[in-house]
Amino acid sequence: MESGLVLNIQRYSIHDGPGIRTTVFLKGCPLTCWWCPNPESQCAGREVIVVETRCVRCGRCREVCPVEQLPAPGGDGVRAAPAACTLCGACVEACPTGAAQMAGTAMTAAEVIAEVRRDRIFYDESGGGVTISGGEPLMQPAFVKALLKACRAGGIATAVDTSGYGSREQLLEIAKLTDLFLYDIKLMDPASHASYTGASNEGILDNLRALGQVHSNIWVRIPLVPGINDSPAELDAAAELIRQIKGVQQVNLLAYHDTAAHKFERLGRPYRVSDISAPTPWQMDQAAERMRKFGLNVKTGG
């Protein structure tokens, strides 16, 4: 049985494709986008994270940790996982509030599907289904294929939400099992893409072209981050590319929001777009209008 590393299974997802959906977030992503809404999904292994708002500073985690020295009596403050953490999970098990969490659970495809099936009545009612997201699904292709096959066998509609960064061969195989692609384009300018996401966009855009040849139901999603990818040149370049890909049915402009700032902090990583504010509805509409001039079906929001 295929198994994979799952970050979270989110039910009543209503912004990841049509209808009421269950989104399966996989762990691990090759990109490190500055604005990533789920930075805890980036690392391809398990991680201990501490949700500071739930921590009551009881110190149980330190008491049970085999790596860390016991704290001085009366020690307070939220504990971060020690650098030499062995991921034994003792602190997670001991934490009374659930503040200490293991990000990433190894699950078999059958386990995931059992969870996905729970909301089947709502998929049927709403035309929804499952969305495999990440992280980056292409990092766990065998697992993704197993999930998609099982969904297909059970009559559950499938969507894959991808950054497009990964093996083209795997992407095209996955395409055979996928009803809908949510395909992200972050930036068109190669240099900017590299600096803001940590990787080249060349493969991503080539993969999109290849996918567009074989798959007829692609929604391109662009997270609109003011000052980074909302310039006329960026929007026009994206629109010009998308216009040429026949499998693209619509473009969704997603408004950047800064709710992930505290997550970066929790992971001890810098949040490098803290000075950027969310685009106004007017900015969103302007960008959508601009792209519509290329004959695209552009929507704002999920």
């Binding site: 997802s13 209503i14 009421i20 729970r118 909301d119 709502f122 009612e125 709403s126």
Partner: protein, 786 residues
């Protein structure tokens, strides 16, 4: 809203509820002068006639639908024959910070000089408590259950379509026929039936007289009126009130006015729970509407204005003030009149129509506290009906609530009603299912399940008082398994259900013999045919309900015990109970673990949900089908009104991590904040309960406005509702408001007086709620967009 409606609405909103001794004084005079002359039902009917003949009547500027229970809008009478307020009670009503009623010195004087000297010791409340067994009183005082009829009469009923086809003169003919066919030779009840029927006959005359007084007043006012348009309206009102309720209505206006007179009669004759309701108003009005449009006598605008005027009338009638525990279980001005929209026709086809949408528009436009409104959604109902309802819901007034019309039919079929009667039925009050116009479905009281678990963990002793209330089922340490504990819990439940029912039978008999409701009997099938009163089994169907409260809290507590004390053995049960007794003092880690690390109901977690189902099936087995004293059966319902706050206040800390005295979960909703997997998981958990075995189960969901801002959000919510109803879910209601907005209202009530939120089966002004209830509503999980 028309300009006229705006003014009438504003007047209704601005008027503060005030108490009047008018009814109390008239009743006292009548009883003093006539005590002992007549049989009980005739005495009741004649006293009703006395009220209809002598009470001050009101016809306000610009009104179209007329008639008030008090001398003017928002003035509330009292019912000393049911509850005789003391001067102290009246002063408290005048000065209490929440849901107060203005009480004048004259009112207190009238009470001290006339009302109290006669009714003290004669009122139902004064006679009921001494008649109840000590065991009942001890359990009642401990907060194991409440009792609806200790200060208000049996009610909870709804009218069907009969008045739209027949005037009271027609009902009088039916009464005469029934009287003529009495079997004086072999029916030993013939005399009591004759008295009952004579009382019904008098009550018809009384209401006809009451309407004629309005007709005369309207004519007098028309004679004085300078404005020709208003003069014509007053003449029209006089014409309407001369025709109905004596005769069947001829048009839309008369149909509404006839219902309103019946409404006033029911809520004046006695102070029944949940006032009274018109039922499927859209279905009842459609024929009159179509006829008026076709013959040119009515325009859609005029019809709508009449409906608006009708709505204002409901809002003019705050609930009569409650006292004691009952004020805590239902602390609100709302009197639970509830209009059904949509539903099914007698032939099983979709019952929604043009008027359904008009009613929803009026609800949205006027957003009044009363009347409540609900949409009866069948699989056959068009999506347009649900979408229209959700568009009103997203405004955040908590209205309308949404019911599963197909489940409502099935619930009634299971109870043995005919298909036609079940389809003509619907929901009233909060979420209660009934056969409209044919059933006395009496709610007898709320039942505190988490408190019973507390007793089961303390060998039948109430830890709050140290009193042995229940049977000795063994101390916590004596249970070797979860099954042992559950058996003890069941034994305690069974015991207190028996205690409650014994009390019910006494109170039921007292109402049957001492406090009949002749007018309500006229309009409830088959009271005329059987010659029996609504309160003594005259209705076609007679179900009595016990409403169980706190299934979420109970489930999470049992689940935590099962998991921590018996599966994982991470804490012994005796040790756990000791921590509860100390309200978790020095044991916060344990409490946190119980709150955060245990399976919880509301997350589609099979472990917790199986325990919920086990508890639910147990109480169903203990209650359903047991006979009441009126030829009907006991049934269960799962709803709380506001009693989960009171019940929490008498219940100690619990194994779900709830600290002592805090509110319990409400309805069948999860414990506040325990549902962490989103709305589909909540609905799936709730759907594992077999709702068809209940007469109503209340599920509250809270959404932020952003989730419903666009069409796609609305559609997805519609799918959520449809999915739940496919699982036989009974009811769903929504609070669409942000927690910040509620906090803001809490801080500045003066500028948020109009903020209406869904509480539990009804909506209420947020600022009128107790601080505890406000906190509780804020804590309910807010389902934000993901």
């Amino acid at each position: 809203m028309t300009e006229r409606t705006k003014r009438l609405r504003q007047e209704s909103l601005d008027a503060a509820p005030v108490l009047t001794a008018e009814r109390a004084v008239l009743m006292t005079e009548f009883y003093q002068a006539n005590e002992g002359k007549y049989s009980v039902p005739v005495m009741r009917a004649r006293s009703f006639m006395h009220l209809c003949r002598n009470k001050a009547i009101w016809l306000g500027d610009e009104e179209l639908i007329v008639g008030e229970r008090g001398p003017r809008p928002k003035v509330v009478p009292t019912y000393p024959e049911l509850t005789c307020h003391s001067s102290e009670d009246l002063r408290i009503l005048d000065t209490r910070p929440k849901t107060s009623y203005g009480v004048s010195d004259e009112c207190i004087k009238a009470y001290e000089e006339k009302v109290i000297p006669y009714w003290r010791g004669r009122s139902m409340r004064d006679r009921i408590f001494p008649a109840l067994p000590a065991q009942w009183l001890a359990a009642y005082e401990a907060g194991l259950f409440t009792e609806f009829m200790e200060q208000r009469a049996p009610g909870h009923t709804v009218l069907d379509d009969k008045i739209y086809r027949k005037g009271l003169l027609g009902f009088k003919r039916d009464i005469a026929e029934s009287m003529a066919s009495l079997d004086w030779l072999s029916d030993h009840d013939a005399h009591s039936k004759r008295e009952q029927l004579a009382a019904m006959d008098i009550s018809c005359d009384a209401l006809i007289l009451f309407a004629r007084r309005h007709a005369e007043l309207a004519l007098d006012m028309a004679a004085e009126e300078k404005d020709p348009a208003r003069k014509a309206e007053l003449k029209r009102i006089a014409d309407v009130c001369s025709h109905v309720p004596a005769n069947a209505p001829r048009d839309f206006h008369e149909a509404l006015q006839y219902y309103w007179f019946c409404h006033l009669a029911v809520i004046t004759e006695l102070n029944g729970w949940d006032a009274f309701s018109p039922g499927h108003l859209d279905q009842h009005l459609l024929g009159f509407y179509n006829k008026g449009i076709a013959d040119g006598s009515l325009t859609p605008e005029a019809a709508r204005e009449l409906v608006e005027a009708f709505f204002v009338k409901f809002n003019n009638h705050p609930a009569p003030p409650k006292v004691g525990v009952t004020a805590a279980e239902s602390g609100t001005y709302t009197d639970f009149a509830n209009i059904n929209i949509g539903g099914l026709l007698a032939d099983g086809s979709d019952g929604s129509n043009e008027i359904s949408h008009m009613l929803l528009d009026v609800v949205e436009d006027m957003h009044l506290l009363q009347p409540s409104n609900n949409v009866q959604l069948s699989a056959k109902s068009p999506d347009a009906l649900l979408t229209a309802a959700l568009k009103v819901i997203r405004k955040g007034y908590g209205l309308p609530s949404v019911f599963n019309a197909d489940a409502v039919v099935q619930e009634q079929l299971r109870q043995g009603k005919t298909l036609a009667d079940a389809r003509a039925g619907g929901c009233s009050g909060c979420v209660e299912t009934g056969a409209f116009g044919k059933e006395a479905y009496i709610l007898t009281g709320y039942f505190n399940m988490p408190k019973v678990l507390e007793l089961a963990l303390h060998d039948g002793v109430d830890p709050r008082t140290g009193k042995q209330l229940g049977p000795r089922t063994g101390p916590a340490g004596s249970f070797a398994s979860f099954d042992d504990l559950f058996a003890a819990f069941r034994k305690q439940m069974s015991h207190f259900i028996d205690v409650k029912m014994r009390g019910n039978h006494i109170i039921e008999h007292m109402y049957a013999t001492m406090m009949p409701a002749p007018f309500l009997s006229v309009i409830t099938d088959d009271c005329i045919k059987s010659g029996k009163d609504y309160n003594s089994g005259g209705a076609r169907y007679n179900n009595s309900y016990i409403q169980f409260v706190g299934i979420g809290s109970l489930t999470d507590s049992l689940t935590a015990i099962s998991k921590a004390a018996f599966d994982d053995k991470s804490v012994g049960l005796a040790e756990l109970v000791a921590a509860l007794d100390a309200d978790f003092a020095g044991n916060e880690q344990l409490r946190q673990r119980l709150v955060n690390r245990m399976p919880k109901y509301g997350n589609d977690d099979d472990y917790a949900d199986a325990i919920m189902v086990r508890a639910f099936e147990m109480l169903f087995d203990e209650v359903d089908g047991r006979p009441n004293g009126k030829g009907g059966c006991y049934r269960i319902e799962m709803l709380p009104t506001t009693v989960h706050v009171y019940f929490g206040s008498v219940t100690g800390a619990a194994a779900d991590g709830r600290k002592a005295r805090l509110p319990l979960s409400e309805g069948i909703s999860p414990v506040q904040g325990a549902d962490r997997k989103g709305p589909t998981a909540v609905v799936r958990s709730a759907g594992k309960m077999d709702h068809l075995k209940t007469g109503g189960a209340l599920l509250n969901m809270k959404f932020t406005p952003s989730l419903l801002a666009d069409q796609a959000g609305l559609e997805k919510l519609a799918h959520l509702v449809r999915g739940y109803f496919k699982m036989d879910g009974h009811h769903m209601q929504f609070n669409v408001v942000k927690a910040e907005a509620l906090r803001e209202a809490q801080a500045h009530p003066e500028t948020h007086r109009d903020l209406i939120v869904r509480v539990a089966g009804y909506s209420d002004y947020f600022c009128d709620l107790s601080v505890e209830l406000q906190e509780e509503i804020i804590t309910r999980t807010e389902h934000a967009a993901f």
